[in-house]
Symmetry: C2
């Protein structure tokens, strides 16, 4: 099989869009930074056409912003929008608790424990990137048990959008450690099958994880 079947543009575009999105998540491109098509062509070894498609897709997803005749840049999320994103995330992520508690099995709990431990390790010795990705993996795996794929999509879409804010997540090492501790509290609630406590923990995890002023009230 020397000649690999050529992928259709659909797939290539989606892959490229995800690669760029990941680069943005990892802060390889900072909020407000212009994404020059020529650079992206080289960096990701893609044609100009694919780059443009991928950028269009990300613009629809609001990960980046399109300015006519200027190009595409990483979306800068203003404070108001950032707080709205946080408030909406709290609404959505809280709502996963019930399903997770109802559906997660022993194997899932074990794997989550492992991810929590990985995060602890990353807090001590890992890079910012590792911390971020492991944290993401922890939450992604946890939410995957909620039993509502649409809900999950919404959550990740919002989480990605929130990256465009200037507010530095985990601004202090202290906050990072707090996040770490909260993961274990979540695990405890999970093992106790206490959905309400899990929901509350998720809410504070989101609200307190980002050091913005007065946190919007979550419904309850």
């Amino acid at each position: 099989m020397t000649e690999r079947k050529r992928q259709n543009s659909n797939t290539r575009r989606a892959m490229l869009a995800n690669e760029i999105a990941q680069a943005i998540r990892l802060r390889a491109f900072r909020p407000g930074e212009w994404l020059r098509q020529i650079d992206l062509e080289e960096r990701f070894q893609a044609t100009r056409f694919d780059v443009r498609s991928a950028l269009d897709e990300l613009a629809v997803r609001k990960t980046i912003e399109h300015v006519p005749n200027r190009g595409y840049r990483v979306a800068e999320v203003d404070l108001k929008t950032y707080e709205e994103i946080l408030a909406t995330r709290i609404i959505l992520e809280r709502a996963t608790a019930e399903g997770i508690v109802a559906r997660i099995d022993e194997a899932g709990i074990a794997r989550l424990d492992a991810l929590a431990a990985q995060f602890s390790a990353a807090v001590r010795t890992g890079s910012r990137t590792e911390q971020s990705e492991i944290n993401r993996a922890f939450h992604q795996f946890m939410y995957s048990f909620c039993g509502n794929a649409v809900l999950e999509e919404m959550i990740w879409s919002l989480r990605d959008r929130g990256r465009g804010s200037q507010i530095t997540v985990w601004s202090s090492h202290e906050l990072l450690q707090k996040s770490d501790r909260e993961h274990y509290e979540m695990m405890a609630a999970l093992k106790a099958r206490d959905a309400e406590r899990l929901a509350a923990l998720i809410a504070t995890h989101i609200a307190k994880g980002a050091p913005v002023g007065p946190v919007p009230v979550e419904p309850g």
Copy 2:
């Protein structure tokens, strides 16, 4: 000003995408139906390029589905996904209640009353399309007071996606009248500034408006 300033493709694409989306909402194109690019060119007087861009955008928004080398078709939402959309809508739309009650003013209430009355009239004498659009206007205006633009976006994105289901909304005239009555119940809760009641009404409005089997449990 004989020569109008030419719009950039950005705007044209977005406008076309919205026109197509509306046509889908109004069931001019049915779930599963193929959207042939040539037809769309004619119908909306657009270039092929613009049509493709708009279709791509709608595919990202999941209003339509893209099948390589076959084209684009109105997304068919399977029952499971439909129920997930409903469940997620309940989560999100419930959450608007608090903000609406807190923020809506007398003028807003008056306008909502008028929209509710318009809907009643449409239930009696209007076409299916009118009913649908007025209902949309009612909810759109109400939710616009929730104070969270991001939350609103999510809601409308989900509502659009739900259109792709084969399940006929308002399958019976009875259900339509029930929706009508519920609007007035919402108005009453709104006037009483009772956020919790409003939230509960919104939840049943969504769940009972669509005659699917067992309705997913809403959190709370």
